[in-house]
């Protein structure tokens, strides 16, 4: 049942992404509205799938459901939900044209990851810390993905403004001020969730391996990303950094964070055991 719902959500996301991309080429407001509606339908069905999945998993906090694939799936759902909230607040249709395809791009590998191979080590599968860690990671990454998207849009728009050659997208992009403010706010929230994810992650790691910060690519990238976002926020607060510099730091921070996920998938992380 949950799988069918996830497939329906994926179809809705794909159709939503297509509607937004069509809107980029042909700016009829109907396309953006359709894209928004399809993403909304997708995210509702997607969360329903999680509900069903947790219900079936039943035991404890349902953390057995948090396997590698599901984490990406949750990340996609939270990103779309975050985008819809952002769009409701700032009317950012153009960001939908990036969030839609991004969601599809992370949903597809989510299904390709073989669940059994990434099963949670039995000694931590019922841990509250793991539940919070996974939730905070997904929310933090989703929020930072949105911040990354806005920063990319900022950089593109700022370049056109500086070079005095507005392109086709320029007219449909929001103001640089809005992109800067919204991108920074999201980066701050992403940083908060990332901090929580790292703190709870170290607890989980200690439960599973005895070491709170084992030397592994996943942990390394996460710490680097966290440090970068921390310095970004400090530079903004203390020296008043904004605009291009901040946008570039957000992009760099998010790329490091993606490294965490690559580490999660490619290496044999300490957190994950071989048996389910």
């Amino acid at each position: 049942m949950a799988t069918i719902l996830v497939h329906i959500a994926l179809v809705a996301y794909t159709a939503g992404a297509a509607a937004f991309l069509t809107w980029l080429v042909r700016p009829a407001p109907g396309f953006a509205r359709a894209g928004r509606l399809l993403l909304l339908v997708g995210v509702v069905v997607h969360f329903a799938a999680f509900g069903v999945s947790l219900g079936v998993a039943g035991a404890g906090l349902g953390v057995k459901a948090w396997k590698g694939g599901e984490l990406f799936s949750l990340l996609a759902a939270v990103t779309v939900a975050g985008y819809l909230l952002l769009d409701f607040r700032y009317e950012l249709s153009v960001a939908g044209a990036f969030v839609g395809p991004f969601t599809v791009a992370i949903m597809v590998p989510a299904h390709l990851v073989h669940s059994d191979a990434r099963a949670i080590a039995p000694e931590v599968s019922h841990s509250i810390a793991l539940f919070v860690h996974v939730g905070a990671s997904a929310i933090g990454t989703a929020v930072l993905a949105l911040s990354f998207g806005l920063s990319v849009l900022y950089l593109a728009s700022e370049r056109q403004m500086k070079e005095k050659r507005p392109g086709r997208l320029f007219a449909r992009l929001p103001s640089l001020d809005l992109l800067d403010r919204a991108g920074y706010r999201l980066a701050v929230w992403g940083f908060v969730f990332l901090s929580l994810a790292i703190a709870t992650g170290s607890l989980v790691s200690r439960e599973a391996t005895g070491s709170p910060f084992p030397l592994a690519p996943k942990q390394g990238f996460a710490i680097l990303a966290w440090a970068l976002f921390a310095s970004l926020i400090q530079a903004r607060l203390v020296a008043g950094w904004r605009g291009r510099r901040v946008a570039m730091l957000v992009v760099a921070g998010f790329v490091l964070l993606i490294g965490t996920y690559v580490g999660l998938l490619s290496a044999a992380p300490a957190l994950q055991g071989t048996a389910a």
Partner: protein, 442 residues
């Protein structure tokens, strides 16, 4: 009936001609009444703007075009263009969608067309045919504005500056605008920024008196030019147009101000030659300098973008035009259908009455069954001809053939009669009859 359009625009006549034949708004109603009184003219509307004067009319025949043309006078006659039927309709759609405007995509023309329609309505010159055409033309124009980028991007230098300020700062509410110098274009841009919500307008000039005078004129606050470095820390937009031969805002000055303003972005608009802002200032982070050439380049690009959207806009106009023509033809095919049904029902009614009179002793239920049978026969017989006539939408030969075959040419039966008669019949008959008002409403 014929739809005709007689008139001229900036494409056919120079401004010298247009200003002679322009109709002042207070004379519009009288002119419309004059048009309506012309022989054969049933409806009329007059659009008179600085770029065009066009009369749209519904007349009994094309011949009325000559009379309408005469009302424009001898000055207009050599330049005027007469359009009929589909061409006139297409022109109305294109004018409303701003495809025939001097600046393609400009927003005013649709409002002007709507105003012309309202005045025609007041003068009693607007009828159902023109109203329907105007409603569809408005729909087409709105689609063109929302579905294409034809109206996007400012095309005058001062509006480009304002648009770019929005692009950089978003809402201008609470922003501070600094006006350095007293150039006319700078004043225009500053005024526009103020009306769009800028909190304060600081006016700096070498001469304090001039600063005060100008500040009074534009509703700003006079400040001294000597305070410029401090003013650059405060302003979000600075518009420079002094007669200075050297740069008034240097890169160094701006770099210092930038640090003090904690890298808040600033938009510097340089509207003079020689330039007032050192060009390399644009290299500073969060500082955006636009001079006259830059603004003109953006304006030209916007014009090109608009032009590039014309094809798509024309497509929308054609779609709407075709849909409107189809609906009109469907409306035109309604009388034949209605007359055919009314004819069939009257024949059936007469035959049923004759039969019932000869079959004495039938109770009410049996009589009802006979009537239902007659109606069912009519519906079955008319089903195929009705579908074909509707599909043909008044364009093919079937309408006339039907009228000739069933001897309907002379019948002046109105659709309303048909509706009334169909209501008397059973459910199926009523359902068929209900198509008629639907078609009429289209």
């Amino acid at each position: 009936m014929t739809l005709l359009c007689v008139g001229l625009s900036h494409k056919q006549a120079p401004i010298g001609v247009r200003e002679q034949i322009a109709v002042p708004s207070e004379q519009l109603e009288a002119r419309l009444r004059q048009l309506k009184s012309l022989p054969g003219v049933r409806e009329a509307m007059l659009v008179s703007t600085c770029n065009r004067i066009e009369i749209f009319a519904v007349a009994d025949s094309r011949a009325a075009g000559e009379d309408v043309l005469e009302t424009l006078g001898s000055v207009a006659a050599p330049h005027a263009v007469c359009r009929f039927e589909e061409e006139a309709l297409r022109h109305l759609f294109r004018v409303a969608a701003s495809l025939d405007s001097m600046v393609v995509g400009e927003a005013q023309i649709l409002g002007q067309v709507k105003e012309a329609a309202a005045i025609a309505q007041q003068a009693g010159a607007l009828g159902p045919e023109l109203s329907k055409a105007l409603a569809r033309a408005t729909t087409a124009a709105k689609r063109v504005r929302t579905e294409t980028g034809i109206a996007r991007g400012a095309v005058s230098l001062s509006s480009v500056a304002v648009q770019l300020a929005h692009k950089l700062l978003g809402s201008l509410d609470g922003r501070s605008v600094l006006l350095v110098g007293a150039g006319e274009m700078a004043q225009l841009a500053a005024r526009e920024l103020r009306t769009q919500g800028a909190r304060e307008l600081l006016v700096a000039n070498r001469s304090p008196q001039q600063a005060e005078e100008l500040a009074r004129e534009v509703g700003g606050l006079p400040v001294s030019l000597a305070e410029l470095p401090a003013l650059l820390e405060r302003a979000d937009v600075a518009i420079c147009s002094t007669g200075a031969t050297q740069a008034v805002v240097t890169r160094e000055m701006m770099a210092r101000a930038l640090k003090a303003r904690r890298y808040r972005p600033i938009f510097l608009v340089d509207l003079t030659l020689p330039r007032n802002v050192e060009p390399s200032t644009n290299e500073l982070e969060n500082v955006y300098v636009y001079d006259l050439d830059d603004l003109e380049r953006v304006a030209a690009q916007n014009r090109d973008l608009r032009t590039a959207q014309v094809g798509q806009a024309e497509e929308i106009v054609e779609q709407e035009l075709k849909a409107f023509l189809l609906a009109s033809r469907e409306r035109a095919s309604v009388p034949v259908l209605a007359r055919l049904r009314a004819h069939a029902e009257s024949v059936a009614r007469a035959e049923v009455e004759k039969t019932l009179a000869s079959l004495q002793g039938l109770d009410e239920k049996q009589q009802k069954t006979v009537r239902a049978m007659a109606s069912a026969i009519i519906n079955k017989l008319l089903h195929a001809p009705t579908s074909r006539l509707r599909a043909e939408a008044g364009q093919g030969p079937l309408g006339e053939a039907t009228a000739a075959l069933f001897g309907l040419e002379g019948e002046a039966q109105q659709p309303a009669d048909a509706e009334a008669s169909s209501e008397e019949g059973p459910a199926e008959t009523a359902a068929e009859g209900a198509v008629l008002p639907l078609l009429r409403n289209r």
